[in-house]
Point group: C2
Chain length 454, copies 2
């Protein structure tokens, strides 16, 4: 059978449980620590911040399959299954014997895979009888996804949007407003931590770490609210496993096995979700795969960070996580476009990387956009800057295959579309885009502030 351009699962083939890769890890990811006691977080520590069902998922490292609630399955049908696409045109343009597949998560209004976890988190908030949720957003994909999910369940949605994004991306903001969300530029004067940051750094344009602190404060000080997060956490990787589960079923239908699986990595939500079921096979000794995390050279947490306990937010009000980190104060250069700008990395992915079960590479921004443009012109999809990191690495693998005459099967995650990132594309088209790579001194300075815990 010739592999079709696009493979969609039928509704009855779509998974109805998420897969929890921690269940198959012999050495588990390190637990979150309570910042005041230095001890592993209990459910009681986390429940003032997160919904109770999500706390359970966060702490559960033994249950392999967790059923999706029926309303989540129904909502997934709106925009899932996502297609597994054979990149015939890209292969031909590259003249490579490699077979390239990508799992495309961008065909929904949030423009990315973020909706997979947003709808789950909104559902649990609604089921708990909450009034609303708070969150932060940087590039805007997560905030958009959460706005859509909250509109669906009739929940209030308060988004703290990193100020420079808020100002540079009025259209992202407007999509969120169309879905009824309340969007505040961060740091704001509506929270104590925001006021403090504004006082200490007048004129600051904000960072993801600040916005997290503000969103958490707003959640714990507003009755009937909880905080939700779009990446990094175990629960988010759990929800995102739908990506890998669908891909795995589709490959089995096609009778194809990928050799290498590539994904961009910021906080790790997409990569963790994409690789989870394949990693499970590897952990159980059923199959072998190469896994490659691709991160920006301007924010290289896996390739140049430390594996240590660190704060998840600038305000240092969240629990501590053991992860590859550049330090909670690290902010990538303002010239860095799009997401993938978080200082740390999912504890699950950090542990898998530390166990050498996964590789990591970093790529420069201009190389990323050149891959993005090449991909847009050959495969027809204008990719998000984040996703284009994976495209760059996949193209590089395919070129290696051409040079070595090897016919490997490459799978990469195409997390989303770049329709709201045209300012970055413009700077690439105008040849004004630059590359920023932190020096060793920059990083040492950031590492010096790591907490002495764990």
């Amino acid at each position: 059978m010739e592999v079709p351009y696009k493979t969609y699962l039928n509704e009855n083939e779509v998974p109805t449980s998420w897969y929890n890769v921690r269940a198959d890890m012999k050495k588990k990811p390190a637990p979150l620590l309570n910042a005041s006691t230095g001890k592993p977080c209990t459910a009681a520590d986390l429940e003032p911040v997160f919904c109770s069902d999500l706390v359970k998922q966060e702490l559960d490292d033994t249950t392999a399959f967790i059923p999706m609630p029926r309303p989540v399955v129904d909502f997934y049908r709106m925009f899932r299954p996502s297609p597994l696409i054979r990149a015939y045109f890209l292969e031909k343009a590259l003249g490579t014997p490699a077979k390239i597949f990508y799992k495309f998560e961008g065909n929904n209004t949030s423009g990315s895979h973020k909706l997979n976890s947003a709808i789950a988190q909104a559902y649990y908030a609604k089921a708990q009888g909450l009034k609303g949720v708070t969150t932060e957003t940087g590039a805007g994909q997560w905030g958009t996804a959460l706005s859509m999910a909250c509109a669906f369940f009739g929940l209030d949605c308060r988004v703290f949007m990193v100020k420079c994004s808020y100002e540079q991306k009025p259209f992202r903001r407007e999509v969120m407003r169309t879905y009824g969300a309340d969007v505040t530029p961060s740091p704001s004067m509506t929270t104590q931590i925001g006021q403090k940051i504004n006082q200490e750094h007048p004129g600051t344009t904000g960072s993801l770490g600040c916005a997290i602190s503000e969103a958490v404060e707003a959640a714990v000080t507003t009755p009937g609210y909880r905080y939700v997060l779009g990446s990094v956490l175990n629960q988010v990787l759990l929800h995102q496993s739908i990506i890998g589960l669908e891909a795995s079923i589709a490959f089995k239908k096609l009778g194809v096995k990928p050799d290498v699986i590539i994904g961009c990595a910021g906080g790790g939500s997409n990569l963790g979700g994409l690789i989870s079921p394949f990693m499970g096979e590897k952990l159980r000794g059923e199959a072998d795969y190469r896994f490659v995390a691709v991160e920006p050279a301007s924010c290289p947490s896996l390739t140049r960070g430390r594996y240590a306990y660190d704060y998840c937010d600038t305000g240092r009000i969240c629990p501590l996580a053991k992860m590859y980190t550049l330090g909670a104060d690290y902010i990538p250069s303002a010239s860095h476009a799009g997401g993938l700008r978080y200082h740390g990395m999912s504890p699950i992915l950090s542990e898998l990387y530390d166990q050498k079960l996964m590789e990591a590479v970093s790529v420069r921004q201009t190389d990323v956009f050149s891959a993005a443009q090449y991909f847009a012109r050959t495969e027809g999809i204008l990719p998000a800057p984040e996703s284009s990191h994976a495209i760059r690495a996949a193209i590089d693998e395919a070129i290696k295959c051409r040079e070595a005459g090897k016919s490997e099967t490459i799978l990469f995650g195409l997390t989303g579309t770049g329709y709201f990132d045209m300012t970055a594309y413009q700077s690439f088209n105008d040849h004004t885009m630059g590359d920023f790579i932190p020096t060793d001194e920059d990083l040492e300075k950031a590492f010096a502030k790591l907490p002495e815990i764990g």
Copy 2:
């Protein structure tokens, strides 16, 4: 069998010929007229402007099925088949017994159905050995689609973009540039007609009619170039029949027959494509359907226009077409958002409407955006302003069904997404959006300039 949320055809079920509805019309649409002789256009009249194969398709009103070239079938696989979606969530929100389906054409980077014809026209230009093509774009969807198609075949693409759009939508322009297109604001100083319009109307922000004149002039004066158009023409409706053909096959698979088929109508490309195969059944007496064209109250060519020969462009350098028209100088209010702003209507649709085989309604802009927001929040897709005209009419039909207790099956065309239309959404969110409806006096003034031909 329960109808699934989304129905995709398999690759082997996808049509490989377009359907030409003119073949089944007893009374054919009136021919284009040569403006200087007043006689029906011959192939020789049209070939300096259009590719030869496209001229053949334009003039052929007897061949029912025209095979798609293989490279076009392949390209379609990149972004087609498009899903036929059962709007379960919308039905539930409306509390209607009606069954609502929509054919969603927005899941590609052009953001609309326009790519269906762009790739066909680019293919024929390439097959003829041309160097490039010219076109105009208003809202930007057509220009984006053509840029993508030209990038794929390695053709030069020169787009004249209506100046106010060029300035208000820098991101649309940037997408076209990313695909390698050359984008010029119209009226420009690069054509004689542009210079003339700029002299006569200093400071004008342009119109679709002006941009067409400039694009045609640029094509006929540049060796190796032809002009291509995204709507109105018979060839465009032919290519767009893929929408209706896929929908028709999907309905047969599901064992469902729509009662009423609704589409937005500007030049008629989407509506004509969507209804063609169903209209063919009606014309052959095999089945009956209601067809509803939905147009903006601010540009009401079918509901308030004259059925007469008129110029297709402001510069009056194109052939004359018999169509429902508001007059070649008619420009909808600047407050009108998005496309659907052409002064005329496809000659095929005009003739079908004149024969009372199709109905037409006009809807106000604020009612359109209120439907758009409602749809976004219930069905998860942020629709284009154009597409939202069809949503408005479909919701109105579904409410009528609820009031009458009738369980009709409604199909509407969701032509695209609104990601580049957030300025319009913002004015709706801010309650600053207005409605503009031309007075009878406005229209009489425009009708007075209709040519005395035909």
